[in-house]
Assembly symmetry: C2
Homo-oligomer: 159 residues x 2
């Protein structure tokens, strides 16, 4: 699922303006990374992104991918998620609903959900603890019920 061209244009403009304001260069590599992560609404890790770019005939180094992701996070065009102990996943964040995640512990399938109560909880917690809360991360872990999920119906032996 890709972003409409006009919105993509806006995203590019936002990134360009951000770089300029910061006195950083608008290099082609940075925009290529931006394009690639906005090409889908998947949750990708840095290396996947690197491979996709490489396969797409672009010549960017892993270091540049990481560097650019950092910049994209700084201007809120990308969010990073840390699911479990594995490598971080990145996701485009412009004009997309704020959502939380549900992860199947067996097949690692990822689902997104949204519940307005989380916002209320966040506000309440901010108030009680006198915090300026910038963001939250809510992940639920369990077992899905899909046919092809590997560990489906396998009884857990442990505790």
């Amino acid at each position: 699922m890709s972003v409409p061209p006009q919105q993509m244009e806006e995203v590019r403009r936002i990134f360009g303006a951000f770089l300029q304001k910061r006195g950083r260069r608008q290099t082609p590599e940075r925009f290529i990374v931006l394009e690639e992560i906005y090409a889908t609404n998947d949750h990708v890790d840095a290396d996947e992104l690197y491979i996709r770019l490489k396969d797409g005939g672009h010549r960017v180094s892993r270091a540049t991918v990481y560097n650019t992701l950092e910049l994209l996070m700084d201007c809120n065009l990308v969010v990073r998620h840390q699911f479990g102990r594995n490598q971080a996943k990145y996701e485009r964040a412009f004009s997309y609903w704020q959502h939380d995640h549900l992860i199947c512990m067996d097949c690692n399938e990822l689902f997104e959900f949204c519940d307005p109560r989380i916002q209320s909880i966040q506000e309440m917690v901010a108030d009680i603890y006198q915090f300026d809360i910038k963001h939250h991360s809510l992940n639920m872990y369990g077992r899905c019920a899909r046919e092809h999920c590997p560990n489906r119906a396998v009884v857990t032996q442990e505790a």
Copy 2:
């Protein structure tokens, strides 16, 4: 904050029984790790735990610490938290309220909170997505208002 002796006794018993049921050995090292993580209600990382044990005159290897933490998680005596991309934090989990976390992005101070609505959300999500949800992790990130917090009152320059 340490656990009362009688409860500590129960925890040891649970771990022993668990190992037995699994056909795993009840080695002194494993119980030493258990003692150490139950000695406080801090959130410690594996290396801290290793250092504490070493400083306490015990001779356990890092590998054993990791191995034991895994076992302790399997029998629900310990929970692992992944805050950001840093190393995992472990926390004792017996007879302690289920809680979520609030983290200051400036001083890394950790606060715990609990809101019953999270439970309802979890149940609702489980129902909608036909998931058997085992656990969740909710972290809120922001800036605290404490006097000695390093970045206090520093205006963020970025976007």
